[in-house]
């Protein structure tokens, strides 16, 4: 059974009587010029214009909150004829504005007074309501639709000339009952859905003050309920009361079960020009459906806009809102603040944070917060089954979770749950919870095993992925041939790991289980499984020859070095790389021999001068040109640079290999230094270290010595 609020027919009277102007005009001049007394431009809207404005407000509130769930159909009636100006399929404020703009061409005309007076108002209204009932009645066959009966609401905006619509309540009861029964009889004949319960509200708009604006029930039968209300169009004399607008908003609240809530204490910065520099607290009222179980109206207070997005707030209900004064500056400011940055705001009631305003998907929702569900005594993980273990494959499950993150769908096609479950099943066909007592999952983290675990469960395999699988398998075969250890884990249970051969047997049997579980994913899966396990051969006799791997073709004309290249170890490779590096002078402390740079060779002891010359030779640096000239001459004659205590280039001192450096005035230190160097040299010889020879040979000597 559909809701009575899901369909509403709104009928607007366009007769002469709706041309009458409201009682209190709007002084445009006072607004624009600020002159209250000089009402030079005084414009009063007509009753018809007031009706349009109020019904627009009704539709705006309902569409803001319920969207396309609540549908409206607009009709006009004039000269005893009703005209439908919209349809059930197009909804929304933009569509309503276009519709009203198109129908504005035939606004009520003062010249039509004669035509309007010919037919009694009661007859007009009865005909209008009967036409609207036919629009509410469904044209769908009973078997096609799920609902068993049709229901809805009719709102009629009119100017009732007869004051005593209430007196004719018996006539209403009789006529409307027979109309609905006629429609249902027709529906039964044609197998259509029948009308069940209809609510009809006549809004009688006057252009003078109305004292009693209450909603009066003219008839309340099983099939329908008829109500009437009399209101004044436009504002009251004091400008504070708008009967028509307030009545229409009340009807919207009552019909669609809305509640009014006020948010107070909203800090908004005033413009500098208005004289206020700081922020002022404002109030924003809005309407929303019932929130949670409580029907009590609450006043909420602005609390804080700083909400941690990583924290999931416990809520029991969330509903859309519609600002009551959408045109006002502070209401506009609040909604823009929420919707532009997709922000959330906490609201409090009686010093307790109870609600949250949040923008979700472009709509503003009011959430009612609930107490977080936390156990009084949080359970201990270690007491749970399997809780004490520390060998869970957490990282693998995290990557599975990241791969299977859900997103909204563009198409909105249903049935995705089954497909998603099937995808999860595919990736978890072989998925141990722990990595202990397993060779394959102990090696997760290595490139080859990770590749296999990621690629094999896929639905299809591209050529690149097949190549990667073959390369990964080749890598595992080579590891097996080299008998590289597997990082076996016994988990929390302890125990001795099996032997290496046994570990590799377990590894290959686990790989076989994995590949065979996905062998039916695609033909490529079958092919790659056969290839890998055929290349691997029998488990106890792994082939030593490397598996054929697709490589790019080699140019036949290219000459290759046919000499046998002896096998190298990784250590040899590093040595070779090291020898190719250009030799750089080392720091004093790094070098064990005599070949080193001496920064301050003669520095030490009490005096840094010998023979009136500085030990560090800096005095000679100052005579650079002279020294260079001397050394050049010496070099020409293939003689070592001058090492006399005369003017000697201190830079060349670093290259001296003469062990008999005599330094006057610091003989002890020199002797000590010479002793240290001797000890070092003797040590090198004992160890077999000779930094003057080929490093590779030196390391071989050291290795042989220590065998």
């Amino acid at each position: 059974m559909s809701s009575i609020s899901s369909k509403t027919v709104i009928v607007i009277d366009k007769s002469y009587y709706m041309c009458r102007r409201v009682q209190h005009a709007l002084n445009v001049d006072s607004i624009v010029r600020g002159n209250v007394d000089e009402g030079y431009v005084q414009k009063s809207p007509t009753v018809y214009q007031s009706a349009l404005q109020s019904l627009t407000e009704y539709c705006r509130i309902v569409w803001d909150i319920f969207g396309s769930e609540r549908r409206f159909l607009f009709k006009t009636f004039y000269k005893n004829r009703t005209k439908t100006i919209s349809n059930w399929n197009n909804q929304g404020m933009d569509y309503l504005r276009d519709t009203l703009r198109r129908s504005a061409q035939n606004s009520p005309n003062a010249k039509d007074i004669d035509a309007s007076q010919q037919i009694p108002k009661y007859t007009h209204l009865k005909n209008v309501i009967e036409d609207s009932l036919k629009d509410l009645a469904a044209k769908s066959q009973k078997e096609e639709v799920e609902k068993k009966s049709e229901t809805g609401r009719i709102l009629v905006f009119t100017y009732a000339t007869e004051e005593n619509l209430e007196v004719q309540s018996n006539q209403w009861r009789k006529d409307l009952t027979s109309s609905i029964e006629k429609i249902n009889a027709n529906a039964r004949t044609n197998g259509l859905v029948e009308l069940d319960r209809v609510e009809i509200v006549i809004i009688d708009i006057k252009n003078e003050k109305v004292i009693n604006t209450d909603l009066k029930i003219l008839a309340d039968e099983k099939l329908f309920k008829l109500e009437v209300t009399h209101v004044e169009a436009g504002g009251s004399e004091n400008g504070k009361e708008w009967q028509l607008t307030d009545r229409v908003v009340d009807l919207a609240t009552q019909h669609h079960r809305l509640m009014r809530t006020m948010i107070s204490g909203i800090p908004m910065k005033e413009e500098q020009t208005s004289g206020g520099g700081g922020s002022v607290n404002y109030e924003v009222p809005f309407l929303h459906p019932q929130l949670g179980k409580s029907t009590e109206m609450v006043d909420l207070r602005w609390n804080t806009p700083k909400i941690d997005a990583s924290q999931l707030r416990a809520c029991c209900s969330a509903v859309r809102i519609s600002p009551l004064e959408v045109n006002s500056r502070h209401s506009d400011c609040l909604t823009k603040y929420l919707s532009n940055g997709r922000r959330s705001v906490l609201l409090s009631c009686k010093d307790k944070v109870t609600h949250m305003l949040a923008c979700n998907g472009g709509d503003i929702y009011l959430h009612k917060l609930s107490t977080p569900f936390t156990p009084q005594e949080p359970p201990s993980l270690e007491n749970a089954p399997g809780g004490f273990r520390h060998d869970y494959r957490v990282n693998d499950l995290v990557s599975l979770i990241n791969k299977h993150t859900l997103y909204p769908s563009q198409t909105g096609a249903t049935g995705a749950v089954a497909a998603n479950k099937a995808a999860l099943e595919q990736f978890t066909r072989v998925f141990p919870l722990v990595n202990s007592e397993s060779a394959l999952y102990s090696m997760s983290g290595t490139q080859s095993v990770d590749k296999i675990l990621q690629i094999v469960p896929k639905s299809t395999l591209s050529e690149t992925e097949q190549f990667e699988l073959r390369a990964a398998a080749q890598d595992l075969i080579e590891k097996e041939l080299k008998k590289e250890p597997i990082p076996w884990s016994s988990g929390s249970l302890g125990g001795k790991p099996p032997k290496k051969d046994e570990q590799y047997k377990i590894l290959w049997s686990e790989l076989k289980i994995l590949f065979e579980a996905h062998i039916d994913n695609s033909p490529a899966h079958k092919a790659i499984t056969d290839t890998i396990f055929a290349a691997r051969g029998r488990p106890d006799e792994p082939k030593e020859v490397a598996m054929e791997v697709d490589v790019p073709e080699i140019d036949k004309d290219q000459n290759f070095n046919t000499e046998e290249v002896p096998s190298k170890s990784i250590f040899d490779c590093f040595l070779e790389m090291d020898s190719k590096k250009p030799k750089r002078p080392r720091f004093y402390g790094q070098v064990m021999g005599r070949d080193k740079v001496q920064l301050y060779p003669f520095l030490g002891g009490e005096s840094d001068q010998v023979d009136n010359m500085r030990k560090d030779g800096s005095d000679n640096i100052e005579n650079k040109k002279t020294l260079d000239a001397v050394n050049k001459k010496l070099m020409k004659n293939n003689m070592p640079p001058k090492i006399d205590h005369g003017p000697v280039d201190p830079r060349s001192r670093a290259q001296r290999r003469d062990d008999t450096v005599q330094r006057r005035g610091d003989a002890d230190n020199v002797q000590r230094r010479g002793d240290v160097q001797d000890i070092q040299r003797r040590g090198d010889q004992a160890e077999g270290r000779n930094f003057n020879q080929d490093p590779r040979q030196m390391h071989r000597n050291i290795r042989e010595k220590w065998k």
Binding site: T56, I401, P408, V434
Partner: protein, 365 residues
């Protein structure tokens, strides 16, 4: 709450009479004493009235889990037929699950029809309700069955693809009666996109296993959901029966970690801003779109689009003053001025109210 008809024994327990003595508690001995001390009277009263009064005790508190209202009655309704529909309309908001157990054979059809209408009305308002006739000798069996179906913790399986483990949900999720309903993980949703989802009920997940040393899926899921940074964490979207829910991991410290299950309200789209759960896809799908899902109608809300509402004079005043302010700043604010004037002229066309525009134009002259 017990109500037995006068012809056997009329007994009515009115909570309005004994409010100080009738409080919710877990003391079974005290409650047994109170039941044993129920006084008998010859009052003719209506069970529907009693149901409405009792339901008020469970109303108004959204913080707690939804409760249950169990009515033991002989099924007779004493309201005149014409007044019964009005009484029925008072059942607009039943805050709990309603269980009516009629004791003994029903003598007239009318009471059964009336009670059935009560159950139908409660279900139509979105709550669960049931009506069962129980013979005198089957009371014990019926009570045990009611306890198992509605109150006992639910033992079920957590299924993630081909992985599954036993677990217990406490308290029992409402409306999930079939013990064979496993909880299947459908996918995972980032926590930062959920933004306070409305939840029907919350339940704690307790892992169960015969062998305490075997690895358990619940434990692995706890570690995996807690491993990432807080802002990057995800929740598991699950389906149990025809209801959707969320599994979230919590931690107090390294030793205390647990999972909770939150049940959404019935339907495929309990969160309108996420779309239908039945159409959500994984990242590798071609139909995937980023969060959030923006409804087509969302772009047309009155607060998202320039809306002119002139049902009150001060709103017309605000629009005219805005246009006047921009007119004073001409020619600098020419674009803003024309924007305001176009907005007012469009509204004048819609409401057939050219007088407002005439007033603005006259002043600008």
């Amino acid at each position: 709450m017990i109500h037995i008809r006068r012809f056997t024994k009329t007994l009515f327990l009115d909570s309005d009479i004994d409010p100080p003595r009738r409080r919710f508690n877990r003391d079974w001995l005290q409650m047994k004493k109170e039941i044993d001390n129920i006084s008998m009277s010859t009052d003719r009263s209506c069970n529907l009235d009693a149901i409405i009064k009792a339901s008020r005790l469970l109303a108004g508190n959204d913080d707690e889990q939804p409760g249950h209202l169990v009515c033991l009655t002989d099924g007779n309704v004493f309201y005149p037929r014409k007044e019964f529909p009005k009484m029925l309309n008072k059942l607009t908001c039943m805050p709990a699950t309603l269980h009516i157990l009629t004791l003994g054979p029903l003598q007239k059809l009318e009471p059964a029809t009336s009670l059935a209408q009560v159950v139908e009305k409660t279900i139509a308002n979105g709550k669960r309700a049931s009506l069962k006739r129980v013979e005198a000798q089957e009371v014990d069996t019926a009570a045990r069955k009611l306890f198992v179906d509605e109150f006992a913790p639910m033992t079920t399986k957590l299924v993630l693809g081909k992985l599954s483990s036993e677990m217990v949900l406490h308290p029992r999720p409402p409306g999930v009666l079939d013990q064979n309903n496993a909880m299947s993980v459908v996918g995972f949703i980032p926590i930062k996109h959920l933004s306070g989802p409305p939840i029907d009920s919350n339940h704690q997940i307790i892992p169960e296993a015969i062998n305490q040393e075997e690895p358990h899926l619940v434990i692995l899921l706890i570690h995996a959901l807690l491993q990432p940074q807080k802002i990057d964490r995800k929740l598991a979207l699950v389906k149990i029966g025809d209801r959707f829910g969320l599994i979230q991991a919590h931690e107090k410290d390294d030793a205390h970690k647990w999972l909770t299950f939150s049940l959404f309200y019935p339907g495929d789209m309990p969160l309108p801003w996420m779309g239908s759960f039945d159409s959500m896809v994984f990242a590798d799908s071609s139909a995937k779109q980023d969060y959030p899902l923006v409804d087509d109608f969302a772009k047309r809300r009155s607060y998202s689009t320039p809306t002119i509402v002139w049902s009150k004079d001060n709103w017309i005043i605000a629009d005219l003053q805005k246009a006047h302010r921009t007119a004073k700043k001409l020619p600098d604010k020419q674009a803003a001025f024309y924007k305001e004037v176009n907005r007012i002229s469009r509204a004048c066309c819609v409401y057939s109210n050219d007088s407002v525009l005439e007033g603005l134009i006259w002043d600008d002259k």
